[in-house]
Every structure is written in structure tokens, then in C-alpha cells.
């Protein structure tokens, strides 16, 4: 770890202004940042601590949406009564992630900003366009089995987005509220994370010195049933090889509305809209689910060691839909 300046902010404005002017990082739970700073992969000269900001509330809005403060921990969010009842997919996703200790520290805003687990990004020396633009992508042609994507990849980067929480949020639909030098603005959750394209170093839609203050979930789908299924080698404490968060509303045996988002397989939390559309009006059965799962992976690009993620991701979608609709 290198030395850095440390400043504790007491308001959003002071946090934003403290962040400006030099390579800085906001720190909330620190579960990603401290890890990467200790590995010397991130080298902020200033760390602005946002733990004193009044962003710990979960507020039910009149329009049925749920406004979550950026500092709400993963644990508190997962066990929040309204989340458990109306957004079960989010609660399940949160609880499938990391470990109890990490979830107690990790925050809603921080989780949105989670960095990739690609070994070549984290080792500090291998060519990596995300860490050092222009050096190349070592994961292509290298070890790309577990934490690399088959959807949304580019020649420059194939790292998968590691968050479970974000997959559930992508399925639910949400808005990210950010505050910066030019004041407050809102970003659609699905637009927040960026595809790597030719600029994998640019991971999100935040402008310079902007701070996430809230994530507001869309009003829940009426009568929805949902499920988050995470597939991995070991039973816990592993990033998803493939996961699926689904929300389904049915009328009788017929699917009225469906949301499907996938993790472990995309370079960002991956919403499968075409697959959703294919389900609407169809019977809630294995054949419909399989068809949707195939559509969800149309155009997927396998790499040397992760081709299995395509069938595995389809299995996650199918079983998740089955579990949701049979519940």
C-alpha cells in the first residue's frame, strides 16, 4: 500500500469537492478499494471517506419505488422487510454474494462500483487494458474460465462484472442518483455500467468527481414471483460462473410479464430483454424457459476456457424461471 491523504467528509458537497483535483477515491465499506490498494493496482493519492454522510436510509416513495441510500450495507438491504417481500430477487442475490463479514461492510453504492476479478487486472504486471489502456488483454488466450464473460466482450476486455446485487437490480429496474460538481442527476441503472468496447478503463457513466448517493428501485411488478440462482463450483464464497435473477408475473399458466438478468456471463449486469419478450404470453413451462434461455445467449462469444458458461447460463435461466413460477 502506498501512502495517501485521508479526508472524512461530513456532507455530500464536501465529499465531492474533496474528491476533485487529484487522483482520489471515495471509500465506503472499502471491500474492493482496500483490496486493490493493498495489491498496488489502485493508487489513489487521496481517499475521501463517505461513512459519515447521511445515506443510510431506505425510503418508500409515494409512487411505490424504494429509495436506498448509498451507505446501506448489503446485509441491511438483504434483510429489509420491504426488500424481502417485494424484491425477493434482490435479497437472494445479496445473500448469495461474498460472506457475512463482507456483506456487513459492503454498501449499496460501493457494490455498484465493484471492480472485476480478472487475475490479469489484479496482478499489477500483466498487460491489461483496464488497468493500463493500450497494453492488451491477457485474458484472451489466457486463463479465462471463471471470471470472464461471454456476452458484451470486446477485443480489449472480457472480464465479467462480479456483482450479484447489480444483477438483481438490473432485473428490477432502478435509477442511480449521483451528485457532483454540476449538481445532482439520475442515471438509468441499465445505462450505468458500460460495455468495455475500446475503452475498458471506463467502467461506468459517472462523470469526474461524481458520487453515488442513492439507488432507487422501480416499483415492484404486480403479483411477481422472483428467484436468484447462482451457479458456481463451491457452495459459497465464489463469484458466479453464471447466475440468473428473474421476475415473473403470471395469469393462470400464462406469463404476463418477465424480467431476466444474468451475472457471471456478461461484462456488465446483463438484462436479457429479447428473452423476456419471448416469454410474454407463453405458458410457464420448461419449453418456454428453454427457448428464452437460448435467446438470452444469442450472439454469445465463448473464449478458450469458458464456453461452458453458455449452457450453464442457460441452465441458470431455466431453473430460475422454474423455481420462480413453481413457488
Amino acid at each position: 500500500m502506498r501512502n495517501f491523504a485521508y479526508q472524512r467528509a461530513d456532507s455530500v458537497d464536501t465529499a465531492v469537492s474533496a474528491h476533485a483535483g487529484q487522483p482520489s477515491s471515495f471509500i465506503a465499506g472499502g471491500t474492493t478499494l482496500l483490496d486493490l490498494v493493498k495489491l498496488d493496482v489502485m493508487q489513489p493519492e487521496r481517499i475521501v471517506d463517505v461513512n459519515d454522510l447521511p445515506l443510510y436510509d431506505i425510503e418508500e416513495l409515494d409512487d411505490g419505488r424504494l429509495k436506498i441510500g448509498a451507505m446501506v450495507t448489503n446485509t441491511d438491504l438483504a434483510y429489509h422487510e420491504r426488500v424481502k417481500s417485494d424484491y425477493a430477487v434482490l435479497s437472494e442475490a445479496l445473500l448469495s454474494g461474498a460472506s457475512t463479514q463482507l456483506r456487513n461492510k459492503a454498501t449499496t453504492g460501493g457494490n455498484v462500483m465493484q471492480r472485476v476479478r480478472c487475475a490479469y487486472f489484479r496482478d499489477g504486471v500483466s498487460p491489461c487494458n483496464k488497468r493500463e489502456p493500450g497494453t492488451g488483454c491477457s485474458a484472451i488466450g489466457g486463463d479465462n474460465r471463471s471470471v470472464h464473460a461471454v456476452l458484451g466482450t470486446s477485443e480489449q476486455c472480457i472480464a465479467s462484472h462480479p456483482s450479484d446485487m447489480c444483477v438483481a437490480m438490473a432485473a428490477i429496474g432502478a435509477t442511480v442518483t449521483v451528485n457532483g460538481p454540476n449538481g445532482e442527476r439520475e442515471i438509468d441503472f441499465l445505462d450505468f455500467h458500460l460495455l468495455p468496447g475500446d475503452t475498458p478503463e471506463k467502467e461506468h457513466a459517472l462523470e469526474a468527481d461524481e458520487l453515488i448517493t442513492h439507488v432507487t428501485l422501480d416499483a415492484p411488478v404486480k403479483g411477481n414471483k422472483s428467484h436468484y440462482l447462482k451457479l458456481r463450483d463451491r457452495a459459497s464464497y465464489q463469484f458466479a460462473l453464471a447466475s440468473a435473477g428473474v421476475i415473473v408475473a403470471t395469469e393462470g399458466e400464462t406469463i404476463r410479464e418477465a424480467r431476466i438478468a444474468m451475472g457471471g456471463v456478461g461484462t456488465k449486469p446483463w438484462r436479457a430483454r429479447k428473452a423476456e419478450q419471448a416469454l410474454v404470453g407463453q405458458p410457464a413451462n420448461e419449453a418456454s424457459f428453454k427457448k428464452a434461455a437460448e435467446i438470452a445467449f444469442e450472439g454469445a462469444t465463448p473464449y478458450e476456457h469458458n464456453a461452458f458458461k453458455i449452457p450453464l447460463g442457460q441452465q441458470a435461466v431455466v431453473r430460475s424461471l422454474r423455481n420462480a413460477t413453481s413457488a
Binding site: A119, G142, D233, L241, L312, R319
Partner: protein
């Protein structure tokens, strides 16, 4: 004497006597010692797999806060290598000294060492050291790369074995299989980091080291620094496990001690997790070819087991995968051979059940394959080839209850209900597979000294320079003293893990129990003898009697007339603090028996093909290791080994990039070991508990490693039963099972 031992506390289920210290944070580990004026060291580790250091630029780092000195190959004291002899008790696996020259032999090798006033300052400066390398082309990162280069593997003559005419016997066998198994590099990953806290006073070195062998560590450091052994003291009263990685001294300990002497302050060096993947040993990857011949009645007619593993470019480490193969089954025509080939890795080392763990994965998988070919039940096939004689040594086993292990394990598991047809047993979405395998490990016993003191205050004290590596050695030493004296174990103080104590064994090879307890018992009896001598002397409780006429039982000396005096009163009457005894006990008797332990694992797996999920759901293990000293700690050893075996079967593999030669998953998140949620709901350990008095007076053979042997094969065999897929390369990954 054995009857007396048996009658009391040996075999009881006792909680660890050091448990409260560990739970309350009072147990001091190597990096818990923060000595006055101590400095902290942090390594700079090579970022190329192979090459030469052209330049080390420390200018910027030296200016940074708190930096005291920065060592590297141009700035490091001249030291000596250790002869690395097991017999002389100064063995290491990596003989090259740190900073010996400007060569890089593996990634993650120490290339510089920053010493600063705090850990954080040392690490910050280490990141600022700029190293220029000339990297060699084409690093050798994997076993397959090493073999593909065309280098001839080097055969290890000392560990091979051949009898009869295995090749011709195989060729003429009516049933044959010829299969190759591959096991990956595995890393020990103990919870506690490797760490050294070194200090010098008047030219004497005191080293707190996370060590499984303080005597070896002491001897190595004395050789390296050219000092007589009595000027070096190594302390390791507690370690957070080691699994073999802490058996021998690694470069960091030498670097820490040298740095401390150079800067004139105590120095602490903790090896970061990523470097524990590269510079403190690993289990090397193996490729093992097995050929089995059998007749139509299921009798083995030929068996060959030829393996190769990678070693470092500096040292030769042989993974003796055939060590069990040569004697587990009855077969007159048999060969095992081991070879090594160089790779750009740190030197491999023993990892829990070295040789046997990967070796029995291969052999016991192959036995399953042959049973299938013969259309025989896998358990019956093994029974058909049972032997009570070690044909490799041409000696009988001292004690073997493998048949009982097979039968009791099978009964508990319900093996007779197994439908042999692949994929025939189902439960909802899951298909169930049942597999089994034998387990096997050698029983070893070394020289040992011990000291025991019976104290006037009613307590006793025992010491030995062995270690408790988390397995319960403190507790069983207390049990041994208690078994002879009747002193309750909570009144027995045990001190281990200091090289200044009477010489004791390395905690490895499953030999610590069998080695240490006889010495402790001998020392206890010597202390009782001293007590008797005091008692019959002038002013003693039995003045004028003959020492030989006195008996000692339940803490009391007694004569044949029925007079009985508590030993505390005997001592108090003479104003003596204690009665002491020291003893030396030799290694295992040679020439009459082969000493080995046996057992069997029965495993149930569940495969949910709809989501490609494989889990181990049930394990029954029946283990034949002689007398059980402590049922609780023994069962715990086997349960832990089962967890490790599940990890070996399904998760563990240390990966290197074949292009750069750099490690990939050198952290605790991506190097997968089983977590609690991976433990089967049902783990049943059956300890057969048949004393082996040919081996030692306690009849105990040791239990640390046997549980991990055969476990991966039992899982793989269960996977085959469930899925029809024969996976010959570990770990078994879900993608291996997915394709139709």
C-alpha cells in the same frame, strides 16, 4: 505397563487443553510477537518466471518514510547453505539462499527485502523498488509444457520399486487397463501466514517461526549462519496449521534473520498470501500412468504405476505417488517409478499425505475402472486382492484391519443397497452416485527425547521440542503423563515448540504421536523412579525400603504392606520441589514388520444435471490407525482430511499462465478450498482402534494424513457411478460433466 496405560485416559475423548488460550487470543503465533524496537520487512517478489535481474533501483524507495535498509543480491551478507540432510535434521526443500545471485528461477521469488519502521512503510517502499529483468523466453509454467519441451524426465532411483516381471505379466493379462491420471499443483494455504520474528542478542539468534519442526529449523539456521546449534533458538508454540508447508525453513526466515542481524534490530517478516503460493512450497502437479492386469476371477496379475512431477529448476522434489501402490494389494508382478522434470516454480514440498494423496487418486480410480471392466463390485474387487504381507519389503504388516474397515464402512454406508448401473439412483432433480476407495499411509516413528517433572504442588510438567500444529499434541502429551501418574490432565502443564526443549520430532508424516508419546512415557517413568529413590532415602516416606518394592499408582507411592503416600507428600516431606525424568526413545524397530495404516472411504455425490451442480452429500470413513489416543482429536483429524479430500477432488488447483509463467489464482478468493457449505450433511468417521504394540507401547500409528488419501478417488468413483463420466484429471469440474 501397557495394561496400566490402557486402563485410564488413553483413548478418551478429551477437549484440547490449549483450546481456551486459542479462543481467548492468548496463544501467541509467530507474527504476534512485537518486540521492542522491532522493524518490519516486506518482500519485493519477481514478476518474471525466469530470467536475470539487470538492475534494482532502490533510490526512490530508500527515501521513503521509515525505510531502514533494502536488501538484494548486491547488498546482502554472505551466508552458508545447509547440507539439507534429513538424517542430520537440517533438511530444507529449497536449498538456494535468498538473494544469492541475480537469477530468477520462479515468479514470486524474493528479489529484494525492504526493512522499515512499520509494516505499512515497508510495504509502501517495496512497491517503489524498481527491478529491471531480462526475462528468458518461454517459461515452463505447467507439467504439460515441461513435457512438451522434450526434456527427459529424471528418474528417481531411490523411491522406485519393481518385483517380478510387470511388463510381460501385463501383456499376458486377460483383462487390461492402461490409463493416465493428472493431478494439479495444489497449495497448502494454512490460515496462518508464514512468518518470522527474528532477534539477535550477543550473537545468538532467537527466531519465532511458524514452524512444524523447531529442531530442524534451529539446525538449518545454525548451518546458514555458521553458528553452533546452541546459539540459535527457534520457538513455535502455536501455529495456524501448515499441512506440510511449514515443515522446513524457506527463504523468508533466512532473509528475516539476516536482515535483523544487519540492521541491529528485531525484524518481523510475514509472507503475503500471494507469495505463499510461490515461495513456501506446494504439491507439484503429477502425470501418472497406471496399467492393471487382472484375471477373470478378479485377481491382480500385473500392476505398473509410473509418474512424473514438476520440480523447481534449483532442487529436486519427488512426489512419490507409487508409495502405497507397491504394497496395498496382492500382486507379484509390479512396478512403481517416479521421475521429475524442471519448471519455473518454487521448490515443491510435502503437502498432507505427499505422494499418497495424488497416488491413491490414480490407483483407486484405476481399481474402480478395472472392477467395472470385470463387472465386479468395486469393494469385492479390492477384497479379492487383500494381502497381509508387504510384498515390497517382504515383511508382514504389523497390524492390518483393512477387511474390517471395508466391512464396517460398507455396513454403515449401506453399500449393499448400491445399484451398480450408472445413473440408476435418483432423487428429484439429482442423480446419486456411490463410490469407494481404500486409504493407506505409512507409519513412521523417529528418535525422541522428553522431560517430565512431578511437582510438589500436585502438578506435573512435560516438555518436548515437537509442536502442536493444531492437531492436539499438547493434549495427548498430557494424557500420556496422566495415564501413568494418575495426575488429572488439567494439572499437567505441557510445553512444546521450542528448540531448547529435549529434541522432538517434526510434526509431519503422521509420526508425532507415535514418536513423542513413548518418550513422554519413558520420562514419566524416570520421574517416578526418581521419586521412589527420594522416598526410600534418608528422611523419606519409605526410608530404608527398596525402591523396586514400591509401586506408583493414582498419584501415590505404595509398598506391599499397604502403606500409601501421595507423591506430593513424599516431595514435601523432603522439601523437594519435584522429581524429574528424562528419556530417549528410538525410531521404529526395523526388519520384522512393515508398519502401515489402512482404511476405506465411502462417498455419496449428488449431480443435478439441470444446473450442473455437483455436491458431496455423505461420507463414511473407517480408519485403522492402531490405538486411538484421543477420540475427539482423532476424529477431528479425519474429518478435516475428508474436507481436504473433497477440496482435492472438486476445487483445488494452482494455475499458472503458460505464456507469462505467472500465477493466476494466488489468492484466497480464487484458489478454491471447500467452505463450510460444501461439507456433507453427514460425515461418519469410524475409528477401528486396534492397538499396534509391535510399533510402540501405546499401539498408536498416527492419524494426520491417512484421511486425505483415497478421498479424491472415492469422489471420482462416485461421480462415475452417477454420471458415467470417468474423470482422470483433478479437480473434477462441472464442465467436465456437462457434455452429453
Amino acid at each position: 505397563m501397557t495394561d496400566k496405560i490402557q486402563a485410564k485416559i488413553i483413548g478418551a475423548s478429551k477437549p484440547r487443553i490449549d483450546g481456551p488460550q486459542k479462543l481467548s487470543g492468548q496463544a501467541m503465533y509467530a507474527a504476534d510477537h512485537h518486540l521492542p524496537n522491532m522493524a518490519y520487512a516486506y518482500g519485493v517478489f519477481s514478476t518474471v518466471a525466469s530470467g536475470t535481474i539487470d538492475d534494482i533501483d532502490v533510490a526512490q524507495a530508500k527515501q521513503m518514510a521509515g525505510v531502514i535498509d533494502i536488501f538484494h543480491h548486491d547488498h546482502f551478507p554472505d551466508l552458508y547453505r545447509t547440507p539439507s540432510s534429513f538424517a542430520q535434521e537440517n533438511k530444507v526443500d529449497e536449498t538456494r539462499l535468498p538473494f544469492e545471485d541475480n537469477r530468477v528461477y520462479y515468479p514470486g521469488q524474493f528479489v529484494a527485502l525492504v526493512v522499515a519502521d512499520t509494516f505499512a512503510n515497508a510495504r509502501a517502499a517495496a512497491y517503489a523498488v524498481k527491478v529491471k529483468y531480462s526475462a528468458d523466453a518461454e517459461p515452463v509454467a505447467t507439467l504439460s509444457q515441461a513435457l512438451a519441451r522434450g526434456d527427459e524426465p529424471k528418474t528417481d532411483d531411490s523411491s522406485g520399486h519393481s518385483r517380478g516381471n510387470p511388463d510381460t505379466a501385463f501383456d499376458s493379462s486377460s483383462n487390461q487397463i492402461d490409463v493416465t491420471y493428472i493431478t494439479p499443483m495444489e497449495t497448502h494455504n494454512p490460515m496462518e501466514m508464514h512468518a518470522s520474528t527474528a532477534s539477535w542478542e550477543n550473537g545468538d539468534l532467537v527466531l519465532y517461526e511458524a514452524s512444524q519442526g523447531v529442531i530442524f529449523a534451529r539446525n538449518v539456521m545454525s548451518k546458514v549462519f555458521g553458528l553452533p546449534p546452541e546459539r540459535v533458538e527457534v520457538r513455535s508454540p502455536f501455529i495456524g496449521s501448515g499441512f506440510g508447508s511449514k515443515l522446513w525453513i524457506w527463504p523468508h526466515a533466512i532473509a528475516a534473520a539476516a536482515a535483523s542481524r544487519e540492521v541491529g534490530r528485531p525484524v518481523q517478516l510475514m509472507v503475503p498470501r500471494h507469495a505463499m503460493f510461490t515461495t513456501t512450497g506446494h504439491r507439484p502437479p503429477t502425470r501418472q500412468q497406471i496399467r492393471i492386469g487382472a484375471d477373470d476371477n478378479g485377481k491382480l496379475t500385473a500392476l505398473t504405476h509410473d509418474s512424473v512431477n514438476t520440480t523447481s529448476m534449483t532442487d529436486n522434489y519427488v512426489e512419490t505417488t507409487g508409495s502405497c501402490t507397491k504394497s496395498l494389494y496382492d500382486c507379484a508382478d509390479l512396478r512403481v517409478s517416479h521421475a521429475t522434470i524442471g519448471a519455473h516454480h518454487g521448490t515443491p514440498t510435502s503437502m498432507r499425505a505427499p505422494g499418497a494423496a495424488p497416488g491413491l487418486f490414480a490407483l483407486e480410480s484405476a481399481m474402480d475402472e478395472m472392477a467395472e471392466k470385470l463387472n465386479m463390485d468395486p469393494l469385492e474387487f479390492r477384497k479379492a486382492n487383500y494381502t497381509e504381507r508387504d510384498q515390497s519389503m517382504d515383511l508382514p504388516f504389523s497390524s492390518i484391519h483393512l477387511m474390517e474397515a471395508f466391512d464396517r464402512g460398507a455396513e454403515k454406508f449401506g453399500w449393499s443397497k448400491r445399484n451398480p448401473a450408472v445413473g440408476s439412483m435418483r432423487d428429484g432433480d439429482e442423480v446419486i452416485g456411490w463410490g469407494m476407495a481404500a486409504c493407506n499411509w505409512e507409519a513412521l516413528k523417529m528418535n525422541c527425547d522428553a522431560r517430565v517433572s512431578l511437582r510438589a504442588d500436585g502438578t506435573a510438567f512435560a516438555s518436548c521440542a515437537t509442536q502442536d500444529i493444531g492437531t492436539g499434541t499438547y493434549t495427548i502429551v498430557a494424557q500420556a503423563v496422566s495415564s501413568i501418574t494418575g495426575i488429572p490432565i488439567d494439572k499437567i502443564e505441557v510445553e512444546l515448540g521450542d528448540s531448547s526443549y529435549p529434541s522432538g520430532p517434526v510434526s509431519g508424516g503422521s509420526w508425532a504421536t507415535a514418536t513423542t508419546l513413548p518418550a513422554i512415557a519413558g520420562a514419566t517413568r524416570k520421574a517416578v523412579d526418581a521419586l521412589k529413590t527420594y522416598a526410600v532415602g534418608d528422611g523419606g516416606a519409605f526410608a530404608g525400603a527398596k525402591a523396586d518394592d514400591l509401586s506408583f499408582d493414582d498419584g501415590k507411592l505404595a509398598d506391599s504392606n499397604g502403606k500409601s503416600v501421595a507423591y506430593t507428600d513424599v516431595l514435601k516431606q523432603l522439601k523437594l520441589a519435584n522429581a524429574d525424568g528424562e528419556a530417549h526413545t528410538p525410531g521404529a524397530p526395523q526388519g520384522e514388520y512393515s508398519f502401515r495404516s489402512f482404511g476405506a472411504h465411502f462417498v455419496e455425490v449428488r449431480w443435478d444435471a439441470g444446473i450442473s451442480r455437483l455436491r458431496v452429500s455423505r461420507v463414511v470413513s473407517a480408519i485403522d490407525v492402531g490405538q486411538i489416543i484421543n477420540e475427539k482429536t482423532s476424529a477431528n483429524q479425519v474429518e478435516g482430511a475428508i474436507a481436504m479430500g473433497i477440496g482435492m477432488a472438486l476445487f483445488e488447483a494452482t494455475d499458472y499462465d503458460e505464456r507469462s509463467g505467472l500465477p493466476i489464482n494466488n489468492n484466497y478468493a480464487e484458489y478454491l478450498v471447500p467452505v463450510h457449505a460444501d461439507q456433507p450433511d453427514d460425515v461418519d468417521v469410524i475409528l477401528l482402534d486396534h492397538p499396534d504394540y509391535e510399533f510402540n507401547e501405546f499401539g498408536a500409528r498416527g492419524i494426520g494424513e491417512i484421511g486425505v488419501t483415497g478421498m479424491a478417488a472415492a469422489v471420482a468413483n462416485a461421480v462415475h457411478h452417477a454420471t458415467g463420466k470417468r474423470i482422470r484429471e483433478l479437480p473434477i469440474r462441472l464442465e467436465d460433466l456437462m457434455s452429453a
